[in-house]
Symmetry: C2
Subunit: 491 residues, 2 copies
C-alpha cells in the first residue's frame, strides 16, 4: 500500500478520516472547523456540481448570486427561523484593522465598529426574500426559480471533514410562486431531482420522504428529504427540499397582485445539497483499500500504467497506449496515463486503488507481444487479460457495469439493513446489534420522537413517500399509528 489506512471493521470513523485525507480529498485547515478541499476532492465536487446544475436548468431554474453577509436584524423577522439559525454563526463586527500603536502587530480598529453586526450567511432565505420583495409586484413576475452556488458558515463545535464543517459549499434554490399548489409541486420536483442524482450518479440508493416536525427546517411547513444508508449502518441526510408556505413572504412583506388585482402573499420553497454529499459518497461505497468511485463522478475513469524496464520498452508501450487513449476519449471516457518513472507499478496500483479510479489498465512487454492488456476493476478488485483490439468498447461496457454494480451492492446492503420492528425490545435489539433503518410504528407526537431520541440516539429519518397505510401501535407509547416511519441513528 502506498499509504496505510485504518480498516473499516477496526474503526469506521478513523477509516473515514484517514481515507478522506490520504486519498487527497480534503484536510483540516489552520482555521478551526474549516476544511481545505484538495484538487482531487474538488474535481469530484465539480462533477457533482456540473450534473446538478444541468438538472436544475433542465427543470427551468436559473442561477444568481446574493450577498455573503446578512444584517443581524433580518434573522429576527421569521420567528421559527431565528431559533434555528441565528445562534452558532460567524459575526462580523468591525471593518478595519490597524497597526497596534504599542507595536504588537495589527489589531482591530475600535473606531471601525459596524452600526449593525453582519452575519456570515448560514442559509440565505432572509436576504433573498428581502430582495424578492423588489422583484415581485404582479402574478406576471412569478414564478421566480433561482438557485445559488455558494459558501455558507455554521459555527459547529464538533466538525468532521465534509460531514460537518464550519464553512461548507452548497447550492440553495429559492423559489417564489403564486399558488400553494405550485410551491408544493416544486418541493416534490426538487426532492425527485436529488433522488435521481443520488441514485444515477452517486450510485447511492435513497429513501424519499417527509421529515417529522422535530426534524423540519426552521421556518418550513414541510421538509422533504432523501436519506441514504452508510456502511456502518448509520443514516445520512443527503438533501432537503422545503415547502416554506407564506412564512418568509409574510416576514418580508412580499405580496403580488393576482389576476383579479388582489394582493396575496407569495408562496415559497427552498432546497439544497452540500459538500456533505462528498462524505456520503465516500462512506457509501469505499473499502479498506481506499475509495470506490462511481464512474459517473470519477475525476478520471481509467488509469493506464505501463510496466517497463527501459526506455525502449516504455516507447513501445506508449505507442500502443496513445492509440488506446484516443479510442477511449472518442467514447467520452476520461483517461490518465501515468508513465512517470519515479514510482514502481506496484506503488501506482495501490495509489490508484486508494483514489478509487474505476478501471486500471496495465500493459507490459508481454502484452505488446500478445496484443493484450490487463484490466482491473476497482469495485471488485478483480483482474482479467483482454485483447487490445476492441478494448474501448470493452471498457465502456465495463464502466457501465461498475456503475450499476456499485449501486446494486449499496441497494442490497440497505435491503439487508432495513428491519421491521414491532416491539420496543425488537427496536433496541436491532439498534444495538444490526443497525440500519428500522421501519416501525410511531404515534406521530414530537414528544415520543424526542423520548426515543433521548433513550437511543435514533431519530425519525423520514416518513417515506411509499409508506403504506397500516394499522399499528407505536413501538414506544403503544398508542395507535397509521403508518410505519423510518428510524435510524444518523450522521
Amino acid at each position: 500500500m502506498a499509504k496505510e489506512l485504518t480498516s473499516k471493521s477496526e474503526n469506521y470513523s478513523q477509516w473515514y478520516n484517514d481515507l478522506v485525507v490520504k486519498a487527497d480529498l480534503a484536510e483540516n485547515s489552520a482555521v478551526r472547523g474549516c476544511m481545505v478541499i484538495k484538487p482531487y476532492g474538488y474535481a469530484i465536487w465539480e462533477k457533482m456540481q456540473a450534473q446538478l446544475d444541468k438538472m436544475f436548468k433542465d427543470t427551468g431554474h436559473v442561477n444568481a448570486y446574493f450577498p455573503l453577509f446578512i444584517p443581524k436584524s433580518f434573522f429576527s423577522k421569521e420567528a421559527a427561523h431565528v431559533e434555528g439559525f441565528a445562534k452558532e454563526c460567524a459575526v462580523v463586527t468591525h471593518y478595519r484593522l490597524k497597526n497596534d500603536p504599542d507595536g504588537n502587530g495589527i489589531v482591530v480598529d475600535p473606531d471601525a465598529k459596524l452600526e449593525e453586526e453582519l452575519i456570515v450567511r448560514p442559509t440565505s432565505e432572509t436576504i433573498i426574500w428581502n430582495t424578492y420583495k423588489n422583484w415581485i409586484q404582479s402574478w406576471r413576475d412569478l414564478p421566480i426559480l433561482c438557485n445559488q452556488w455558494a459558501n455558507v458558515v455554521r459555527w459547529e463545535m464538533r466538525t468532521r471533514l465534509f460531514l460537518r464543517t464550519a464553512e461548507f459549499l452548497w447550492q440553495e434554490g429559492h423559489t417564489a410562486h403564486a399558488t400553494k399548489q405550485e410551491a408544493v409541486d416544486e418541493t416534490f420536483k426538487m426532492v425527485n431531482v436529488y433522488a435521481e442524482f443520488a441514485e444515477k450518479y452517486m450510485a447511492m440508493p435513497v429513501i424519499k420522504g417527509h421529515k417529522s416536525e422535530n426534524e423540519r427546517f426552521a421556518g418550513a411547513l414541510d421538509t422533504l428529504c432523501i436519506e441514504a444508508l452508510m456502511q456502518d449502518g448509520k443514516a445520512l441526510q443527503a438533501g432537503t427540499s422545503h415547502f416554506l408556505g407564506q412564512n418568509f413572504a409574510k416576514a418580508f412583506d412580499v405580496q403580488f397582485a393576482n389576476k383579479e388585482g388582489k394582493l396575496e402573499h407569495v408562496w415559497a420553497t427552498s432546497w439544497g445539497v452540500s459538500t456533505r454529499l462528498m462524505g456520503a459518497l465516500v462512506m457509501a461505497h469505499s473499502d479498506d483499500n481506499g475509495l470506490v468511485l462511481p464512474p459517473e463522478l470519477a475525476p478520471f475513469q481509467v488509469v493506464i500504467v505501463p510496466i517497463f524496464r527501459n526506455d525502449e520498452q516504455l516507447n513501445q508501450i506508449s505507442e500502443k497506449v496513445d492509440m488506446i487513449i484516443e479510442k477511449l476519449k472518442t467514447r467520452g471516457i476520461s483517461v490518465k496515463y501515468d508513465d512517470s518513472d519515479a514510482k514502481k507499478p506496484g506503488w501506482k496500483f495501490a495509489e490508484y486503488e486508494l483514489k478509487g479510479v474505476p478501471v486500471r489498465l496495465a500493459i507490459g512487454p508481454r502484452d505488446i507481444e500478445n496484443g493484450t492488456v490487463e484490466v482491473a476493476r476497482r469495485d471488485l478488485l478483480s483482474k482479467e487479460v483482454v485483447n487490445i483490439e476492441g478494448i474501448d468498447e470493452y471498457v465502456e461496457n465495463l464502466l457501465d457495469d461498475i456503475q450499476t454494480s456499485i449501486f446494486n451492492k449499496a441497494f442490497n446492503f440497505r435491503a439487508e439493513h432495513t428491519t421491521e420492528a414491532n416491539t420496543w425490545d425488537e427496536f433496541i435489539d436491532v439498534l444495538k446489534n444490526k443497525g440500519g433503518f428500522i421501519s416501525a410504528h410511531w404515534d406521530g407526537s414530537p414528544e415520543t420522537e424526542q423520548k426515543i431520541k433521548d433513550e437511543t440516539k435514533a431519530t425519525i429519518r423520514c416518513i417515506p413517500f411509499d409508506s403504506k397505510e397500516e394499522e399499528g401501535k407505536c413501538i414506544y407509547s403503544g398508542k395507535p399509528s397509521k403508518q410505519r416511519v423510518l428510524f435510524a441513528i444518523a450522521y
Copy 2:
C-alpha cells in the same frame, strides 16, 4: 423603450448605473457595498467562468477550495502584503448570537468572543501558502498549479456595481515552482490567457504590460496586467498576474529539497480576474439603447419574436419557428423564442435591445407567405429581410461577423484614443480634451509617478510588453527615459 436609460453623452456614469440595473445584470443589496447579481447578469458571468476555467485546465491547472476565513496573524507575516490588504476588511470577532435578556431581539453573545479574530479573505495568498507548506517537501511535489473560484471581501467606502464592491466573485490562481524561471514563465503564461480571453470572448482589445512599482500587488516583485479602454476614455485594469518571488515561501517557511537534496524556498505566482470584468464588458461595447453583448458571452444569442394578431397566426408562425430553432441549435446557437402575448412586439424589441441580444428574428404572417424573416443585428441596429431557407447558416455567419465587428469597433476606438504626448502641456491637453491612453516618457521614479497622479489623477496603467526602446525625456521631470509608458485616468 421598455425602460428609460440616461444617455452616455449626458452622463456616462449614470448611463452605466442605469444600464446595469435596467438590463437586469445586478443591483445593490440591503448590505452596504454588496451587490445581488441577477440571473441575466449571472448567466454572462457563468459563460465567462466556463471559458476561463477551460483555458486554465488546458494550461495544466486544477481547482481547489481554501477557507473563507484567515487568522489575523497570517497577514502580519508578509510585510508588504499586510500594508496592502490588512486594512479595510470584514473582521469576525464572535461566533454566537443570543436572545437579548432585555427582550430587544437578538444580540451578539459577549461570551462567544474568538481568541483570535478572523478576517474574511480579501485575497488568499497567506492561507494558501500556509497550506502549501504541508504539501511541499521535495522537488517532486512541484509545481503546484491551483486555482480557486471564490468570493472575497474588501471593505470599499465608495462602491459601484461590478467595478468596486465590498464582496465580489473572482478566481485566484496560486502556483508554486522549483525555479524562478518557471514562476516567471507562469506569470507571463497567465497574463496571455487573460488577454486571449478578453480579446476573443469579450471582444475587448487589451494592452499587456508590467505595472510600475507604485501599482504593483502588495507582496509581488512584478505585476503583469491587461488594460482596456472604456468608451468614456478611462482605462480599466481587467486582470493581473503576479510574480511573487520567494516572499510568501519565506513568510510561511515553505522549502523543498531540490534534486541535490538541498533545501530551497519555493517560487510563487498568483493571478486573478473578477466580476469586475462584467463592468468592463458593459462599458466597452454598450450604447444608449442598452447592452451590446459579444455573441460568445451572450446568455442567448438569438431571440425570435413572432408578430401576430390571433392564435391562428401564432400557430402558423410557431410551426416555422420550431424548425428554425432546431436548425440553429444543431449549429450550437442558443435561442430564445418569446411568444408571450402579455407584451407587444415593439416592447419586446426594445427589451431585447436593452439586454444586448446579438441577433433578433421577427416573423409575421407576411413573412410566412414570402418565406422570409426579418433579421436585426444589435451592434449596428440594422435590419434586413432574409429567406428562411438557409437562415441557420446566415445567422451563424452573422454572429461571427458581430463578434469581429464589436472587437474592431473597440479596437479602432482605442487606436483613436491612444495619443503620444511629448510635453507636459500636451499631456494635460490630451487628458482634459480627449482622454484615453497617453503614451509618454517617464523617468522611472515612483515619486514622479505619484506627483503626476496628484496633479492629474492619471496613473501609469502599464509599461507595455511591446514598448520599444527609445531615448526621450520624462514629460514631468525632464529627466532621461528609455521607453514610453501608458498613462490614463483609470477606474
